[in-house]
Symmetry: D2
Subunit: 298 residues, 4 copies
């Protein structure tokens, strides 16, 4: 019997870098959480404790800060710069994955005018980017997490099979609520009209489709959202969505002599449904290892 090292990777997680652009009095701000991961030949470190190949995670952290000195641009671009650097830095490093979370800030309005250097966090939503460089191959995943949406009507759920354990009543009208986690893979690493505009366009499409789709199942809503993105953005190869079904149960008030015509609900924490799917373009370039290490259907 032989025991051996299998797949492995390492890096620095959650480097919280904030970069300010002061090139004009109207400052801008990038607020990022960067995690770097290296892959390659690190067998000696594992088996013998020989660190000759180990580009330390402290060095990775320093590199993130140093690269931010030149400005970060879009999260996808910052990830590409870092991943290319790491993947090319030593012969034994064959690949790098850089994951970026980006937190949004809006200008505070003072007297109706957006302030030059004072900001307000725009909410719990997070923009994400994952860049993987592996030898000559490069992949970019964009995404978002924590986009919480709800519709008070326009959602049905019926026609499902019933077995011994089925007690759920069919409904033609329910609250539908979810927290969207979406990731989409670009067909390349240079996107026209740019990662920022494309992100905004996809995000808007996800929101509009959620709002406008009469839902017969959360699965159907999910697919419609992914499909709409692919129809509008040729540079998107595939979309992966993870949608928790945040149940809002109509509260039974009859014991107190009250009806409840869709007025009072209980928002439940757990358990919740969890619907996950990929929507893909037939002619998409192969994903290769684009999703390695990123939750999804890898």
């Amino acid at each position: 019997m032989a025991i051996r090292l299998g797949p492995n990777q390492y890096g620095k997680a959650e480097v919280r870098v904030v970069a300010v652009d002061r090139s004009s009095p109207r400052h801008t701000l990038a607020d990022l959480n960067v995690s770097t991961t290296l892959r390659g030949d690190f067998g000696a470190a594992h088996i013998e404790g020989d660190n000759a190949h180990v580009l330390t995670t402290d060095t990775q952290k320093n590199t993130v800060f140093a690269f931010a000195r030149d400005g970060v641009g879009e999260p996808e671009e910052f990830g590409l710069r870092l991943a290319r650097h790491f993947a090319g830095s030593h012969p034994w490093i064959t690949g790098a994955r850089v994951a970026v979370e980006s937190y949004g800030w809006e200008r505070i309005a003072v007297g109706g005018q957006p302030h030059d250097h004072s900001f307000r966090r725009s909410g719990g939503e997070v923009r994400t980017a994952v860049v993987t460089v592996d030898g000559g191959r490069e992949h970019v995943l964009a995404g978002l997490a924590g986009l919480v949406v709800l519709k008070t009507t326009g959602s049905e759920f019926w026609g499902f099979p019933r077995d011994r354990y089925t007690t759920l009543a069919e409904t033609r009208d329910r609250i539908l609520a979810t927290a969207v986690t979406a990731r989409w893979r670009y067909t390349g690493t240079g996107i026209d009209p740019g990662f920022g505009e494309c992100f905004a366009g996809v995000r808007g499409t996800l929101l509009e489709t959620f709002a406008d789709t009469r839902s017969l199942a959360l699965q159907q809503t999910l697919y419609a959202m992914g499909r709409a993105v692919l129809e509008r953005f040729a540079e998107v190869a595939e979309v992966r969505l993870s949608l928790p079904n945040r149940h809002h149960f109509l509260q039974d008030l009859s014991a107190y002599g009250l009806d409840n015509p869709g007025v009072v609900y209980h928002a439940d924490d757990r358990p919740y449904g969890l619907i996950e799917a990929t929507v893909v373009r037939d002619d998409a370039p192969p994903a290769e290892i684009a999703w390695l290490g990123t939750p999804g259907f890898c």
Copy 2:
């Protein structure tokens, strides 16, 4: 030696009630987290396990849902209805405290138009209300939590005393960031022009003052924020603010041959400064037990 029961209270915490107003096709939504607390003569339950006085926490929960059937209105109003009900429900219940967290939702824009029944959570910020009814006395505290703000310049910190343990350098320009928790006490329970408008006004005042104040200390910013609220809103008796100083440290890049003229910062998690103060109006009516059970300088 005698042992006795001291101050005590009990209730149901975190009732997650969502109420939908469908009176027009343009739905509105109230999304609340309600915690009720009762005070009074509950000695027998503690000492003998005799529950004859214990209005059960399950009943309190049911009451919250039942009262939501008629609509919830502003969080302060919903709290007042509930607290008055509980405080008057049995002779041995002398007081009630109802705390409400309210989560904001914005309409999703479809084709540039706000949708009738599809919404997006407006962020991590929470609007709060605490109503205390104690015999004939009634108090209303409004507030907010999780309002994260940052300014990239316009903040100094110097002139502080130095002792053996002081190593901090003085600065004429730093990033100032905090997550505002604010609570303010109203002079009465009927506010003109209404709790909703007053909340929006105070929130806007806090934001504008944070943005516009050149900061010499977070204490000074805090006081300016509280003072501005009292100056603009006669119906506010006092403001209490708790401001964590979320440190952004300028990253030293000199080891890599780079300067760092206010570009690259590390956002640190812990430790953080914590600045807390009350700003009050001299002629404010007495707070009595308005703050009992609510973090602050009670």
Copy 3:
């Protein structure tokens, strides 16, 4: 109308200091989260941004680390050393509050023997200490949080009043579960036989009493726990307990043709009951400001 600064305080929160005692090959470890708060005359900082009185929170942090150089001892003792230092450091500082969270570590067993320098975190439970020094007065609160307990029987709940909104059935047998947060005030600052032994004794008493008390109400269990502590520990002046009632609902399986004789439960997150009370000794010295800034019934 005059606006003025009311009560205020500031400090450094969550200094994560780990101190190792290497005086023998059998190392010991103190793992603390320390928050310091100063009170006094800080009006100029708030009103004019004059920091001449502001012992910076950075200095407070440095002081915590420096004081740990001599070892930390029991959390209460470390808090006393720090609070006395801060309260006496400048004439305008009239008081200090030092809150300490202590995380427990157990030695890893290797071949049945506790290891000299390898440890395992002993769980989610936290030991707490709050020391307040105010002029010549000193107070010590010890405590714990996150002590999660459950009994599968020996808990009843009946005899409560019923109103229009009451639907709860009476029960002679239910699961009782809670996460104990307890704080107790010592009669002095020098405790015999020491803070460590006293903490262990109080903790054991809380656990034993929870286990051994046939519960007719969580209020009754709470009171019995506090009373037992006061009966056994003369150096404890009062005990404050906050007990969430973590509901475990018997699951109705009848729709699937199954009975459920106390076998299958659903552990619910929210809402939960919340029972809070103080148990005091009649001849206890006055609490003065011992509880200022610490949740409880101040």
Copy 4:
């Protein structure tokens, strides 16, 4: 251009089931968090909103509770029962994945004797099991998460390459701390001497190896831990470990005239190193889809 549905799955997440065995006065307790996931032909639900194939997540939840009526046994066994049921329940369901988190409880000691029906949560650590049934193939992953360990000496880190961005000093003695997440795949679904004993044995091996290994790199510690498990447990095919490097930085006290010979450290939150690797047996049966949907190196 054609757009199509790619890989997809759905289920009910986080069913919090607690099962009590009252067959003797000495009760036992299983406290589980169960998440079920189904795979198969669910295209119509996504594309047309036709739910004829959708075994509702509500039914999945009911099934979990109903199956617990017969007792749950080891988490792996409960997962196998559920996954086999779901995978065989309808022709269009081709596979099921059941993930179980199990929370430990210890008996409270009263007078030195473990109590019959009163328990204390044994900490933040979680035992995990993931069962995947896919057609005729069955896989069982056991694991644990949140096992926090630390050694105060016996850890070095030196010999790493240096580049422009490297500033880290080499060290022959540092604190090493991590929170172990481990998952191991069994060679089959019937393990002798049983899942419970095997879990305890693997857990003990991980702890002992962490304690006893002189560490030259966290990678080396990780590999030694995985290797030891494979050496001692023939029924384990592979081990995957994810080890955050929770940095403890020696605090520089020289500015206050103090040395610091390994006494005072700052426990930092972020960033942290993250070391992940698989240790495998050469003759292990193929993993197939055992890891699908479970973080790891899929």
